[in-house]
Structures are given as C-alpha cells and as structure tokens.
C-alpha cells in the first residue's frame, strides 16, 4: 500500500504537468530568451543582447502605447469600482426583481468581447450610431468618437468655453469610447463580487448605526465603504491586471490603434510587432516589460492583502 502511494501521486499530476510544462513553462521561458534575439517569422535570427530593450527606450510608438494604456487603466479601474459598488449597494436594498436586475447587469460579462466590440463600434458611428442619437436627444451635438484624436478633457472644457493647454488634453475621445465600452462589459462581474462582499456585513452593524441616528449616506461612507474594502481591493487589483491586457477592443473597434495611434494599447502593440511587422524578438521584449508590470502588481496585491482586512 505504502509503496503504491509513493508513485501514484505523480501519475495523477502528470497529464496536467506535461501540458503546463509544454505550453506554459517552455513558452514563458522562451519568451525571455527570444527577447534577446533578432527573431523573424522563420527561424531564429542572431543574438543581439539588450539591443531590443535599447530600441524600446527610443521607440516613440512604444511610449505612446504605454501612455495610452496608463490612461486606459486610470479611467477604467476607478469607474468600474465606483459604479459597480453603487450597483451592488442599490441591489442589496431591494427584494423584488433583484435576480432580474442581476441577470441584466451580468449579461455583457458572459457575451463575447468580439461581438460586443462590433456592436459598440456601430454604436459609436458618427452618423448612424446610438451614442450620437442619445447625445442629440439630450441636446448635445454629435461627437466623432472613434475617429476623434482630440483629448477628452480638451473637448469637455472647450464645450463650456474654456480652452486648456495641449499637455492637459488627456486621452483621445476615441480611447474614451473604448473605455466606456470596457466598463460596461465588466460591470456585472464586479457588481456580483461586491454583492457577495456586502452580504458578509452583519445586519446588526446597520441596526446599531440606525439607533445612533446615522443617515443612509453616513452609513454608506462610514460603514459600507470601510467594511467592503477587502472586496474593493480585490476588484481594484483584478480590474487593473485585466485592463493592462486589453486587445480585442482595439483590434475590432479601431484601424490598428487609429486615430493617430491614440487607441494603441500595449498588448495590441505586441501583437502588431509580432505578427504584422514580424519583429518577434522585439515584440517579446515589449511583452516582458508588460510582464514585469503585471508581476509587480500581483506581488503588491499579495503584500497589501494582509493589511486591508478588517
């Protein structure tokens, strides 16, 4: 009996291990190695040391993509967190139709990003799109959305007659359109996570607050927000990590990161370098930089996780 158990555990793990070894561990390691090569489509090129990384430092489009990605993350993450917390708090107050609303909110999350990207591309069409129909309905003039390279802050301020300098213009309206779509797509998931978090808060806390005469708003800020902070932290980190990997939206809603590269996000740039211009070594180097960023975020999450639990 004992000898049998010594061998068999490894046999049980073997199928998973072989697949992970061949299709995760080897590619991950290779990606590191390839980044030191000049690597074309067919076969390896020559070893060029850190040359790819040096080239990245001087690559304007890389920095543009990085900046776009940062803007994208900065806009998507807080919007997702705030709106989904709001959804969840409202949903948590009602009894009737709660399941119905949950289903509706969750719908975009399970549908394919490809299909909804196409739908939103049509929604943001300048002439026939629903977005401009809505804006016209509430008395705002049509926007160019996905073909508008002008910064979103500049557009907002100029609509109320204030002109702001170029460095404050912010991400393009085209990227902003993609942000709206992405937030919409992910809200349902975050709301469900928040609802689970809210249901863990004992009802007695609120009853005590009620007795003390705290209003609903005060209860929200003094009780709910601090008590769901572990959930907030989870949603925050997960949304950030996922946002750094956005690809399909750019691929489907824009023409290669148009207009003027203002919607080119970093994973799309990796794809473009790897499979359009076939600079696979260079693309791997960019991928590795992204990996370092995501790894940093993951480690930060593990470290901080212990401090945010109440």
């Amino acid at each position: 009996m004992k000898t049998k158990w010594k061998i068999s555990p490894y046999l049980y793990i073997l199928p998973a291990f072989i697949l992970l070894f061949a299709f995760r561990l080897i590619p991950i390691t290779m990606s590191f190695i390839v980044s030191f090569f000049e690597w074309g489509l067919k076969g390896s090129g020559s070893f060029i040391g850190l040359a790819n990384y040096q080239k990245i430092l001087q690559d304007d489009i890389f920095w543009k993509s990085m900046l776009n990605t940062l803007w994208y993350v900065i806009l998507v993450v807080p919007a997702s967190v705030i709106v989904s917390l709001l959804f969840a708090v409202l949903l948590n107050q009602i009894k009737r139709l709660s399941g119905f609303f949950r289903t509706i909110y969750f719908l975009p999350y399970v549908t394919s990003l490809v299909a909804v990207s196409i739908v939103w591309k049509i929604i943001f069409n300048e002439q026939t799109g629903l977005a401009n129909t809505f804006l016209n309905f509430i008395g705002i003039e049509s926007q160019k959305w996905l073909s508008e390279p002008t910064g979103i802050f500049k557009i907002m301020f100029s609509s109320i007659g204030i002109s702001i300098p170029e460095w404050m213009a912010g991400p393009s309206q085209a990227l902003f359109a993609i942000v709206i779509m992405t937030v919409w797509k992910g809200l349902g998931y975050n709301t469900i996570i928040y609802l689970a978090g809210l249901q863990n808060i004992p009802k007695t806390y609120y009853e005590a607050a009620e007795v003390d005469g705290a209003g609903k708003l005060k209860q929200f800020f003094k009780l709910t927000v601090p008590l769901v902070s572990p959930t907030t932290f989870y949603v925050l980190v997960m949304t950030t990590i996922v946002s750094f990997q956005a690809f399909s939206q750019v691929y489907l809603m824009t023409d290669k990161g148009s207009p003027l590269n203002t919607t080119k996000l970093i994973v799309f740039y990796i794809y473009e370098k790897g499979f359009d211009t076939l600079e696979m070594g260079y693309a791997s180097a960019v991928a590795l930089i992204l990996f370092v960023i995501i790894l940093g975020l993951t480690i930060m999450q593990r470290r901080l996780e212990k401090h945010v639990n109440y």
Binding site: M1, W5, K6, S8, P9, Y10, Y12, I13, P15, A16, F17, L19, L20, F23, R24, I26, M30, V34, L90, Q93, I94, L97, R102, T103, I104, Y105, F106, L107, P108, V110, T111, S112, V114, A115, I118, V119, W120, I122, I123, N125, Q127, T128, L130, W184, L187, G188, I192, A196, Y234, I241, Q245, F247, Y251, Y271, G274, M280, S284, A287, F291, T298
Partner: protein, 328 residues
C-alpha cells in the same frame, strides 16, 4: 426619508442602469432586422420600419422606387417582392403614386445573407468542437491533479503546487509570441490541436477541485481504501457523484472561456476552414464594415448560444462567478 419614496428612487436608478446595460443588445437585435437603406437614413432608431412608394395602377398595386416627379408625371422603377427592379424608368401619372408610411418590417433575410457571405455554420461547428474537447481535457487533467494535491502526501507537493499557481499569474499575451514560435517548430500551426491541446489544462480549475476535495470528509476515503477500491476507482465511483456542483462550475468557466477566446485562435490559425466563430466574426467585421445590419446579425448569432445557456442557468452561473471570485 419615507421608505416608499426611498424605494422608488432606488428602483428608478436600477432601471436607468439596467437600460444602459441592456440597450446595446436591444439595438443589436433591432438593427440586425433592419433594411440597410432604412438604417442609413436613421429615422427609426429602434423599430425596424420601411417606407416605400406604391403605384396604384388600374391593374393593381405595385411596390415601386420613385425616381422623380415632373409635370404631374412620375418616373418610377417597379419592384418585385424581394425589392429587385423589374421595370425601369416607367412613366405613370403622378396622381397614381402614393407614399406608404412607415410599416414595421423585419428583415430576417439579413441572417441568411450574412450566412451566404461567410460560412458561419463551419465556424460554429469548429467552436463547438474546440470548446467541448478542451472541456473534457480540462475536467480530466484538473480532477486527477487536484486529487493528488488535495488528498495525497508526497515529496515536492508544495513546490509543485506553487509552480502551478505561479504559472497562473502569467497572462496569455506574455507567452503568445513564443507559443507561436513553439507551435511553428512542432508544425502545429493551422491545426485543430493548436486550438485544443494547450487549453486542455486550467490551473484555476485544478485549484477549484482541490478546495472541493479537501472539503470532503476523510472517512469517505478511508472506507473506500478498506473496501479495496483502487485510488482511481475511488475517484471515479465515489468522488465524481459528490462533485457535481464543482464540475458544473468548472464547465461553465471552461465553455464560456473557450467560446469567447479570440487572440489565440486568431494568431494560431490562418486557414478559413479552421476559423472559430470569434475569428470568423472579426474577419467579417473587416470585410463587411459598411453593412451594418449584416454585421449586427452575425454578432447576434454568435452570442446566441451563450445567451440561451445563460438564461437557463443564470442563477448557477452568477453564483459560480461570485464563489470563484471570493476563493481566490
């Protein structure tokens, strides 16, 4: 504040948010049923309607296209029921021409036209094949590995488990290019196995099953080993019936994940016969970018299976996501 006023405000907000979430889908479906020319006119935003002229000739009514009216005479093209021109530049008395106000008309033919342009049935079959084979693969590899990790003691167990977990932290875009190089080296590019085999393992699912196996009572395993069950037989006969809910959860994640996966099949396949639904749809998006109604029909078709599954099992699916999110 009065309780009923408070509830009214809450429901109002929930309905407004709900509209924001659901209107894109409603618009997708209504546009997918519109006539392209009517859509471009942008008169009716949600209801597919049609506006046309009729020539009330002595012989009967004809659907026509009005070219112009001059001196009480109308120049028209007569149309057949599929809106094809039958008779060109016919001159008739203007008094016999009437405009038919918008009547609702649903263009189901958008779906058949989209299907004629692109072999969506093939894409659909490919997606089904890839999704189901990788689901079976994921369930087998995950349950076996999770059983060892959750219920057995062996050397290097923790180290192996952490190795697995750390691989889960590396997102797909990081190893996409090197995977392409690897699959090229073993001549797997443009094959079904490139779409299936690498996705027959899922670390998160291993983790889910491991948690579940650890929660099962110890006595179960002990009594089974006294009965002389082999460990594999035990897994098969005892554990699977007790793991139905986790199997369901894992299946939902796996199926939705592979149904919607895009970047990998986009990169790893090139032959049209091998395209999965998402890749086929993205090519259609490039080819038919001006044919809005057909694009909407194709998009609607591609999310239909997931929508149907979701509506039948929405409670379980939402609960699965909630549970899995919190376990992490």
């Amino acid at each position: 504040m009065n309780e009923s006023i408070r509830m009214t405000i809450i429901y109002t907000f929930l309905i407004i948010f709900g509209l924001f979430m659901v209107v894109p889908f409603v618009w997708m479906i209504s546009t997918s049923l519109m006539n392209q020319a009517e859509f471009n006119k942008h008169d009716s935003v949600f209801v597919p309607k049609e506006e046309y002229h009729v020539w009330k000739s002595p012989a009967g009514d004809h659907k026509i296209l009005l070219v112009q009216v001059e001196n009480k005479e109308a120049v028209i093209h007569t149309l057949d029921k599929d809106n094809r021109i039958v008779d060109e530049y016919k001159r008739v008395p203007a008094s016999e021409v009437r405009k038919v106000k918008k009547v609702p008309s649903l263009h189901w033919d958008n779906f058949t036209r989209a299907f004629k342009k692109v072999p969506f049935a093939t894409y659909f079959a490919n997606t089904l094949l890839v999704s189901f084979i990788s689901l079976i693969g994921v369930l087998i590899t995950s349950m076996l590995a999770a059983f060892a990790f959750g219920r057995m003691e062996f050397k290097g167990k923790d180290a192996l488990f952490y190795l697995f977990l750390s691989m889960m932290m590396v997102p797909e875009p990081i190893y996409l290019i090197s995977s392409y190089i690897l699959l090229d080296k073993i001549s797997w590019l443009d094959t079904y196995q490139a779409l299936i085999i690498p996705w027959c393992v899922n670390i998160f699912t291993i983790f889910l099953f491991r948690q579940h196996f650890r929660s099962l009572p110890k006595e179960l395993f002990e009594s089974a080993s006294l009965d002389g069950c082999s460990t594999f037989g035990m897994l098969w006969r005892l554990i699977i019936p007790l793991s139905k809910s986790v199997i369901a959860t894992a299946s939902v994640f796996s199926l939705i994940g592979s149904w919607n996966s895009f970047m990998w099949p986009l990169v790893m396949t090139n032959r049209p016969e091998l395209r999965v639904l998402q890749v086929g749809l993205s090519y259609f998006n490039q080819e038919a970018s001006t044919q809005t109604t057909l694009l909407m029909a194709a998009s609607a078709f591609s999310i239909l299976p997931i929508l149907i599954i979701f509506f039948f099992a929405q409670k379980q699916i939402i609960a699965s996501y909630a549970k899995a999110g919190l376990k992490d």
